[in-house]
Structures are given as C-alpha cells and as structure tokens.
C-alpha cells in the first residue's frame, strides 16, 4: 500500500468570492428566497401528484419496495429544497421504513399506507398548526421504529 499524499489546493472560487463587488450574504439570501418563491406553487402541485402516485401504489399493492422508495425519495428531494420540514420528516420516515423493510425482506403495505395518508394530510395542511402536525410525524416514526434498522 502506498503512502497518502497531501496536496495543497487553491480554489478559483476562493479568489472569485473575495473579488470587489458582489453583494452581502443577506441580500444574496433574500434574492434566492424570492427566486425560489416563484417556483413554490408548481412544486407543491408536483408534490401533490407524487403523493397521488404513492396512494395508487398503496391501493394496488403491486409495485416493488424500490419503486415506493424512489417516489418517496423524489418527494423528499423536492420538498427539501423548499424547506418543507414537516413533510420532509414524514417522507424521511417513509424512506427509512421502506429501507428497513427491504433489509428485513418483508413488505408491509399497512404501515406504508399510514405514511402515505399522513403525507396527504401534511401536504394539505402545509404550514398550518405545526405542533399538531409534528405529533403526526412522531407517530409515523413510532411505526417505523417498530422495525429494527
């Protein structure tokens, strides 16, 4: 085995960030929030459609766990960029549940179904009553944690 080599690297980004001009971090953040807000409506609509697909999967119970994981993971990817914390937590619980089911070689649609219904509820009540919605997410985690990692 050869020895590790240490290389000192100077990033171009370092010089560029420090160039005169630009803007304050506060302004950059505000602008990014504004730009992002323009996409929020479409994103919420897409999230609703994806939850609809999960509902169909749960009704028909014919797809593999990998397919459920993919869909849940995509919801997490999009919701995560819009800082939809509660929806993300619920989706994370679903991903974790499916991952644990894969590990244990079992497929329990009932617990997946509870997660999917909760996702619909959280999507509908986006931003409302965070305390009670948090308790919904806690309930989802208690279902997921019934299966050891």
């Amino acid at each position: 085995m050869s020895e590790a080599e240490f290389v000192k690297v100077k990033y171009r980004l370092t010089e560029q960030v420090a160039r005169p001009g630009g803007m304050t971090a506060g302004l950059a953040n505000e602008r990014a929030q504004r730009e992002l807000a323009a996409h929020a409506g479409d994103a919420m609509k897409s999230l609703g459609n994806m939850i609809g697909r999960l509902e169909t999967m749960n009704r028909e119970k014919s797809v593999s766990l990998d397919t459920v994981y993919e869909e849940a993971s995509t919801i997490l990817d999009i919701a995560g960029l819009f800082d939809k914390r509660t929806l993300c937590d619920a989706c994370y619980s679903l991903c974790e549940l499916v991952d644990r089911q894969r590990t244990h070689g079992r497929q329990d649609w009932a617990s997946i179904g509870v997660h999917v219904s909760a996702l619909r509820l959280l999507w509908t009540k986006d931003g409302q009553d965070p305390e009670s919605l948090k308790s919904v997410v806690d309930g989802l985690w208690s279902i997921t944690d019934r299966l050891a990692p």
Binding site: M1, S2, E3, A4, E5, F6, V7, K8, V9, Y11, R12, L13, T14, Q16, V17, A18, R19, P20, G21, G22, M23, T24, A25, G26, A28, N29, E30, R31, A32, Q33, R34, E35, L36, A38, H39, D42, A43, S46, Y69, A72, S73, T74, L76, D77, I78, A79, G80, L81, F82, D83, K84, R85, C88, C91, Y92, C95, E96, D99, T103, P149
Partner: protein
C-alpha cells in the same frame, strides 16, 4: 451558526455545475444560485452529462445530488477525484442528500465531496456551505482508499463561524483587523533596540 448577513460575497464570475435528476428540483436549485448572483450555470440531469461538462468546461463549483439515475453522486465524485481531467480533479463539490439508505452511508463518507448538505435546507444554509467551500483550506488527500479533502478538521479548526465540538478547537481564520493599521514609525519603535536604564 448562520452566515453573517453583512459578509460580502461575489459569485458573478463563478461557473457552477448543478447535477440533479428531477427537473422541478433542478429549477429550484437554479433559482437559488441565480439569487446568489451566479450567472453561468451548467445543468446535468445524470452522471454521464455531468462527466461531459466536467471534461469540456472549467468549473469553479459542482453541486450534485447524491441520487442520480445512471450512477449516484458519490460515484460521480469518486470518478472526478480519481479519473477526472487534471485541471478539474480537485474542483470543490457540495453533495445534496435526501434519505441515506444504509448501503450508502459509508459511500457518502468516502466519496471525497467537500461538504454534504442534507435536506431540508434553506438558501441561507446552501450559501453558507458555498462560503465554507470558498474558505476551505484543508489539503487534498490522495490515498489508495480515499481521494478528497482531509476529513480531519482538527488541525485546521472547524469551518468559519462554527464553534467546533472539541474544547480545544480553534479556527485558523484570523478575520478582519479591528484596529487601524500601525504606521511605519510605530513599527520601527517596536523593533528598535533601546537602552534601558536599570
């Protein structure tokens, strides 16, 4: 700790590659970087497209999702650090993750990305990581089992603005001067040997 909102940051001339499979998520990511002032953005929906951009463009930053259709983001960084073009091999990388499946945890640690950002995150968090990357002074380690930034923050101190987990963690960043510069005569006075009457 949040990034100081008064810090100036100039990303006008930075060239950023965004790698994201889902078009909706890509639009959101593009919007964020546009807000940060990045004018030149390349987009890739999969690993193969990203590799093509890396080979043909000079990039300052790569922001990739960990979950891609043809390969995962970790494999992309692994390729970049080991087989990428010489001028791009050590391009800074921010990895965005959603759920980390059990099989991916080790791969994530060994991927060689500069920072991993887990969802959900706000534009503020992402901007902070871009700033950290720009100020990242860690050396690159090239070893049989790992190519990427030194994963030990111990010698360099934690990233700017972060307290650190060890009680002896100190940031090596000195920061801006708080007092006016000394003029030359003051400096001379400090250096000049003088007789002292005892």
């Amino acid at each position: 700790m949040a990034l100081d909102p008064k810090i100036r940051i100039n990303l006008d001339r930075s060239v950023v590659l965004l790698v994201q499979q889902n078009s909706q998520a890509m639009d959101a990511l593009t919007a964020m970087f546009r807000g940060f002032g990045v004018r030149k953005q390349f987009k890739a929906a999969n690993g193969a497209e990203a590799m093509h951009v890396v080979k043909t463009q000079e990039l300052d930053l790569i922001v990739t999702d960990s979950h891609l259709p043809d390969m995962d983001g970790y494999d992309l960084v692994h390729w970049l650090r080991r087989e990428g073009p010489d001028n791009a091999r050590f391009t800074p990388v921010i990895m965005l993750t959603g759920h980390a499946a059990r099989t991916m945890v080790e791969k994530s640690r060994d991927s060689g990305a500069n920072f991993v950002v887990s969802r959900p995150f706000t534009p503020e968090i992402l901007l902070q990581r871009v700033f950290w990357v720009a100020k990242d002074e860690r050396q690159m380690v090239v070893a049989d089992g790992y190519v990427g930034p030194d994963r030990r923050f111990k010698n360099m101190g934690p990233p700017l603005g972060v307290k650190g987990r060890r009680k002896d963690d100190l940031s090596t960043h000195v920061g801006a001067a708080t007092d006016p510069n000394m003029d030359q005569s003051d400096i001379d006075m400090l250096l000049k040997p003088m007789k002292a009457q005892l």
